[in-house]
Symmetry: D2
């Protein structure tokens, strides 16, 4: 007899991030405000890769690095609040489908309040 334990990728990633954090005793710094600051700082570093450039010529490996940083802080912030990442994303897509109905939004990039 055996037990089959299945874990979703998001859970695995989160667990590893928490292990990494706790091994360094960093939870003391990770209040939600500083996590949001960290996420914003990393989003800036990601953006810098595209500065003064056409989108195609940005360095793919650097994008990979910085995007991973952004995602790491986003996952940690979600964990801090106990959010289920899949749930909040699917909810958001449902909400956005109402704000951006296909017949009005198709083919244009206007904001919902300008549609």
């Amino acid at each position: 007899m055996y037990k089959f334990v299945f874990m979703q990728d998001i859970e695995i990633i989160t667990q590893r991030l928490l292990e990494f954090r706790d091994a360094r005793d960093w939870d003391q710094f990770h209040n939600p405000k500083d996590l949001a600051v960290a996420l914003s700082v990393e989003a800036g570093e990601l953006l810098e890769i595209f500065l003064w450039k056409q989108p195609e010529v940005a360095d793919r490996d650097k994008v990979k690095e910085e995007l991973a940083d952004v995602l790491a802080y986003a996952f940690l912030l979600a964990n801090k609040y106990g959010f289920d990442i899949k749930e909040i994303l699917l909810e958001k897509i449902t909400d956005n489908a109402k704000k951006y109905p296909v017949d009005k939004a198709k083919g244009n990039a206007k904001k919902y309040n300008e549609l």
Copy 2:
């Protein structure tokens, strides 16, 4: 006889994001540079929730909304480059474990180049 198809949450989320995008014919706007701009803009909206405040009093529901937006653009950007989100995050954790060895990094928030 039947086929069991299992999908990971990250794959499910990405698929829904792409369906949402394609139903609106928005891929034409989603070049990597503008996706990075969008991610940075959303990170700023997330950050605004914490402005002038102690971390504890930030509005949880607003954090949920804005964090979902950040994650949506991060997933779309990863998809645009064909990155496997789990892979790039686990790689990043491995890299960071070298940059931040436990014995030097434990309990302090210094940057790796100041350790």
Copy 3:
């Protein structure tokens, strides 16, 4: 007989920034969108100095450096649109005085739409 030419500091700074830019033939990269991207990237670098820290212990010299970068791109963007920096700031203060009347806004940090 002589002519006395007086220049405001803002004009002097802007002139030096333009000389620096033009000596390097960089105006070709300085479209308004990339200037806004640059400003956002530099604002992120400024913010990073405060990450995981109490406000008081941030490194003053680094703040000076990064704040100068932010201001440089802000001045260049203003110049690109032909904005008079003094004028747009004084206008903004007048507008904000209406959005944030003293009797309602005094001593609290709420946004104008929540007053």
Copy 4:
């Protein structure tokens, strides 16, 4: 006999910003970290005007509004540290002239560490 008092524009702007702030008793919120957060949030709002767009079609009046917000927080942060805006900008230009010598930097947008 009379005294002629001349004020630079930067000084006038700063004085008005401080009057506005103090009439609302907002200095209590304006620690340097939150000012840097505010500046980053406003830089994000400025950037949003350019999202999904060619630089030329961004709304000029919105740029004016958001750029004024960015400048306001930059001036307030400079004041908080007692920085002279003209001085730190001219210093920065001098430093950058060394990092980006004309013969190497002319006509390309590479970062100084890649020149």
